[in-house]
């Protein structure tokens, strides 16, 4: 009967669907190259580096996925860990790192693979930011951000300020001096000095403390820590003094502002240099970089981790060693601007001599190297990112959106944080 044929047809189609489903799945071959599954984010040329590794080590094959932005990569890794099917190697940016390693059981202790041997190659503070409480080493640092200021030489000149990096750095040995220079600039030109207080002041000041939001014992201290209070108040002063262009980082207006000179100074960790170049492709020679008040600081950086349950952890470890050796990190810097986490790379003469034509032939490597060398480490915890984010939002409420007054801002920030992470 006709309807039986039709039903059979539907059933066959359903069966085919199921069968094709079962046919998929990773083929494990007995011999042949070991395949390392590696999730990275976009924008760091990870594929090229993976191919280099494959060429040098034919017994390995790297299946690399550039997942998306750093936040998206962290989300994908979270979903993978929750479901139990994990890749061999993941790249996690430092903003996302604390929450992921809050439960160390999710990642393999690299000490069991030989991490102690290479621990000395990297800066202590970035190495330890991926160390669990029990001493397990969960990740290897791939790069750092450092901190510097990028400034428009033409706008400085028009306002009667010096343009040479050393002279500019001498203008602001302290943060109060920095604000004073800003007010001077704004008075002379009538235009804003910085993009926003949260981005270009608080980011830097909150990173220069010896104790930030957590203390040595892992207790949350953001509201009682005078260093943070001072950093916040300073940023409030910047917001209220009229030197801010009121442009939120990465917003439309901000990107346009970089190209159009809406502000003269902005915070510049190593990765920001690339952002500036791509937002202002015609601005070569208009920018230069110099140190921030207090010199030391860091914003950014990433780590490579091996999730627990990965199929080929040893192979992944080989990749890490090759890919993140001091020489490799130095090369990455020279090619792409990712600032190394390996001390040998940072101290190397190639890095110190490197000049960037876009930034008026200034020695960007040396400037950033100074900031990294001068950094005083502080403990971080799982909610570091959330707390920092709420402080930033609170500042933006005063600076950009004008919905809160400066006097109420500290209480506003603290209550937002309490709301967010509990008491």
């Amino acid at each position: 009967m006709k309807f039986r044929k039709s039903v059979a047809g539907v059933a066959a189609a359903a069966l085919a669907l199921v069968v094709t489903g079962c046919a998929g799945g990773s083929g494990g071959d007995a011999s042949g190259p070991v395949e390392i599954e590696y999730w990275s984010f976009t924008g760091i040329d990870a594929t090229a580096k993976a191919e280099e590794f494959e060429a040098a080590n034919p017994e390995f094959k790297v299946k690399i996925t550039e997942v998306g932005s750093s936040a998206e990569t962290a989300q994908a890794v979270t979903a993978a860990i929750a479901s139990g099917k994990v890749p061999d190697l993941v790249l996690i940016q430092d903003d996302d790192l604390p929450k992921l390693i809050a439960n160390p059981g999710n990642f393999i202790d690299l000490n069991t693979l030989g991490a102690e041997d290479i621990a000395g190659d990297y800066y202590d503070w970035t190495w330890e930011s991926a160390t669990a409480e029990d001493g397990a080493q969960l990740g290897v640092p791939t790069d750092t951000g450092g901190l510097a200021y990028a400034y428009r030489t033409d706008l400085f000149a028009a306002a009667g300020l010096p343009t040479d990096p050393a002279e500019v750095a001498a203008l602001w040995p302290t943060w109060e001096d920095f604000l004073a220079v800003g007010e001077q600039y704004t008075e002379a030109t009538g235009k804003p000095f910085i993009d926003s207080a949260a981005n270009s002041v608080f980011r830097a000041t909150s990173n220069q403390v010896t104790e930030q939001y957590y203390d040595e014992d892992g207790e949350v201290v953001y509201d009682s820590n005078p260093q943070i209070r001072d950093a916040y108040d300073l940023a409030l002063d910047a917001a209220s003094s009229g030197i801010s262009a009121k442009l939120g980082a990465f917003s439309e207006g901000w990107s346009a502002g970089i190209a159009n000179g809406a502000f003269a100074v902005m915070v510049a960790p190593s990765w920001m240099l690339g952002v500036i170049k791509s937002n202002a492709p015609d601005g070569a020679g208009q920018w230069n970089i110099t140190t921030i008040p207090g010199v030391g600081g860091n914003w950014g950086g990433s780590h490579l981790l091996i999730p627990k349950g990965a199929e080929h952890p040893e192979a992944a470890w080989e990749f890490i060693k090759a890919n993140q050796s001091p020489e490799a990190q130095l090369q990455l810097f020279l090619d792409h601007g990712n600032f190394p986490a390996a001390t040998a790379a940072v101290d190397s003469p190639e890095l110190a001599d490197q000049v960037d034509p876009y930034f008026s032939d200034s020695q960007t490597g040396r400037v950033l190297g100074q900031s990294v060398a001068a950094l005083k480490p502080f403990p971080i915890g799982p909610e570091t990112g959330a707390i920092g984010g709420e402080f930033t939002n609170a500042l933006n409420r005063v600076d950009i959106e004008g919905t809160t007054d400066a006097e109420d801002s500290w209480d506003d920030a603290v209550s937002s944080i309490k709301n967010s992470i509990g008491d």
């Binding site: 094709t20 489903g21 924008g43």
Partner: protein, 304 residues
């Protein structure tokens, strides 16, 4: 001029109804006659311009780069970077391959939902079975679950049956389309009369025959529309493919164009070019079947 009386409404309706029962005449064009005034065209043209302008703007930024979006007065005509940027799109990401993947996934979902939702809609609309109403309410209730909430449990299911990083993981969950059932049930119940089904049953037709010979041909335009709408939404879906797929050769077109954005440095021109090129196939499809889509939405829509 007569004044409005409380039962005016009934009077109007009764008179009208008395004049209109006509089983022989199919749908007629019913619309106010007379010349169409100029301002009607003006308003409609304005609507068209507003519809098309964002797409046009996408083209402008794609061909002129970042600069177009960051100047006053804004640039209004396309720039000359088009060819260069388009080439960048094709060389930076496996664009053609991702187009193919998107076509496979979107077509499967489109066809699948058209058939499955018609079947299920028919069962809900015309077949009496126990728990029908309760089941239907549950179906409608699941429409209230936002996709973002469903992601983690869905991903865990996919993972358990080993469908991670496969195309079928993009297709099969999309077939259980609550909206589709809602849509088809409404259509079927408003366009197919019970008497018709009864008559066919009396003549000895089985459920399947009734569906296939009588119901489906009538609601085919509505099913086609549903399939097309699902094709479009599957084509544009980003979040779920993003979570599921990890092999670049399986990426759909939305994932591919996301790759164009540098992790921190967004080249707007490139991103817009990617978006525009990803929309282009839809526009082409739309150009060919648009008429049928419009007709289908209108043919299959609710009357009475």
């Amino acid at each position: 001029m007569t004044t409005a009386a409380p039962n005016r409404e009934e009077e109007v309706l009764e008179t009208a109804e008395a004049m209109t029962v006509s089983p022989e005449s199919p749908r007629r064009r019913r619309s106010p006659l007379g010349r169409v005034r100029w301002w009607v065209y003006a308003l409609l043209s304005l609507a068209v311009v507003l519809c098309a302008f964002p797409l046009y703007w996408m083209l402008v930024v794609a061909t002129a780069g970042n600069a177009a979006a960051h100047q006053i007065p804004p640039q209004l005509i396309p720039g000359d970077q088009g060819a260069r940027i388009a080439e960048l799109v094709f060389t930076t990401v496996p664009f053609i391959q991702s187009l193919g993947n998107s076509i496979i996934v979107a077509t499967s979902v489109g066809v699948g939902t058209a058939v499955l939702c018609s079947l299920a809609g028919y069962a809900f609309a015309k077949i009496e079975f126990r728990g029908r109403n309760v089941l239907f309410i549950i179906v409608v209730l699941t429409m209230t679950v936002p996709m973002q909430l469903a992601i983690i449990p869905q991903y865990m299911v996919i993972s358990a049956i080993d469908w991670v990083d496969t195309l079928q993981a993009l297709i099969v969950p999309g077939l259980a389309n609550a909206f589709g059932i809602f849509w088809m049930r409404q259509h079927i119940s408003s366009t197919i009369s019970d008497e018709l089904i009864q008559a066919a049953k009396l003549d000895g037709a089985g459920t399947w025959q009734i569906f296939w010979r009588i119901v489906f041909p009538v609601v085919r335009p509505a099913a086609f529309v549903l399939g097309l709408l699902n094709f479009v939404s599957t084509w544009n879906d980003f979040l779920w493919p993003f979570i599921v797929l990890k092999s670049p050769e399986l990426f759909t077109v939305q994932l591919a164009i996301r790759q164009l954005q540098n992790s921190r440095a967004i080249d707007l021109g490139l991103a817009m070019a990617g978006s525009f090129l990803a929309t282009l196939p839809l526009l082409i499809v739309f150009f060919f079947v648009g008429r049928r889509l419009v007709g289908g939405i209108m043919d299959g829509a609710f009357k009475g």
